[in-house]
Symmetry: C2
DNA sequence: GTCTATAGCCGGATAGAC
DNA sequence: GTCTATCCGGCTATAGAC
């Protein structure tokens, strides 16, 4: 904390975060991260024991990032419907990235589903944050199947990401995001 | 055609098909395929120039496989609604695989979205077959936005695959497949 | 804390005997 | 057509100087 090394550590995690998203975890090498940060490969092992440890740090960073985003949605309004809409609005600004590389959360989980169980459960943590938050909103709206609704909404968004990315279809992505917003707006207030 | 080598070629493609699904394309090595088939690594280059060529052969095989499946759905009934239901029913038998490794079509596209454009467009071919077929069914039901409907249905199924696999949630998968069937049943007949 | 050098392994791809 | 031996490069990870 506060030492010089924390800067390097943070820079490694931030570069790895981007690269894991755009190229995938397995296809990202230490050399890639070294090139992006200017920090030599061998130095990484001062901060992380293994590549898996870097992934864990990236997931931790993403969890914190999403917690902040969701907190921001909470702070905007007390209406759960508008909170969900605020979250959907934030996705709008990620459209280009989604078309290029899919959803950062979903694509990582999908990739690591074919890897060790340890990496799978680690990558799942980001989804769990969002799922829990969505569940709270549906719960506040009076749904007694709030968690099921959260899963449905998560799945809907993931499907849109996968298909719009696979077909590189910007129109479909736009139309689907609008559809999600319309659906949220139409939610009964318990 | 008909020569001895076609057997080996087919066995390589079939093994690669499974491995690309369960481990991913990038994480599958020639050694893995060699081990599964008993065919030595070096021999592969008699049948394929590069690893990418093996992927192309795998995609071609999957396209043919899905064409047969869809043809089978067509042959069962003339009612487009029932054809779509028949397709959804076939997914039911893949539940265990989906929980383990996601949708074979979607997960391959998601992985290769982070690779070269050549691999991306190749992997997309399987989706295109299904999309076109779904579009035909919606068209026959009288929808003038048949292709949009096909994309929506594709996305819905993909979302279910990604989320049920990420959370290893069999109940969600079952519930969502039932939901898809209910939705198909409720489709207006033009 | 930072960096260089390198070990050790495994990847895709090739050459050439049979 | 089939198989063995091997090249070359990139990978993660380590050792040790500074």
């Amino acid at each position: 904390m506060g030492t010089k090394g924390d800067n390097n550590r943070t820079r490694i995690v931030e570069a790895a975060d981007q690269l894991f998203y755009k190229r995938g975890y397995n296809q990202t090498s230490f050399s890639d991260i070294a090139e992006m940060t200017g920090i030599p490969r061998g130095n990484f092992y001062y901060y992380f024991k293994t590549k898996d440890d870097i992934l864990a740090a990236v997931v931790d960073a993403r969890v914190k990032q999403y917690q902040q985003v969701l907190q921001q949605c909470d702070s905007m309004t007390d209406d759960p419907r508008e909170r969900l809409l605020a979250f959907a609005d934030m996705l709008d600004s990620s459209k280009n990235s989604i078309l290029e590389a899919g959803c950062p959360v979903g694509s990582l989980c999908s990739e690591l589903a074919k890897d060790t169980e340890a990496l799978q459960s680690k990558s799942r943590e980001v989804f769990e944050i969002i799922r829990e938050w969505m569940g709270k909103q549906f719960s506040a709206l009076g749904y007694d199947d709030a968690d099921d609704r959260a899963m449905d909404l998560l799945a809907r968004m993931q499907g849109v990401s996968v298909i719009s990315c696979a077909f590189k279809d910007n129109d479909f992505l736009q139309r689907s995001l609008d559809g999600v917003r319309t659906w949220i707006n139409s939610l009964a207030s318990s």
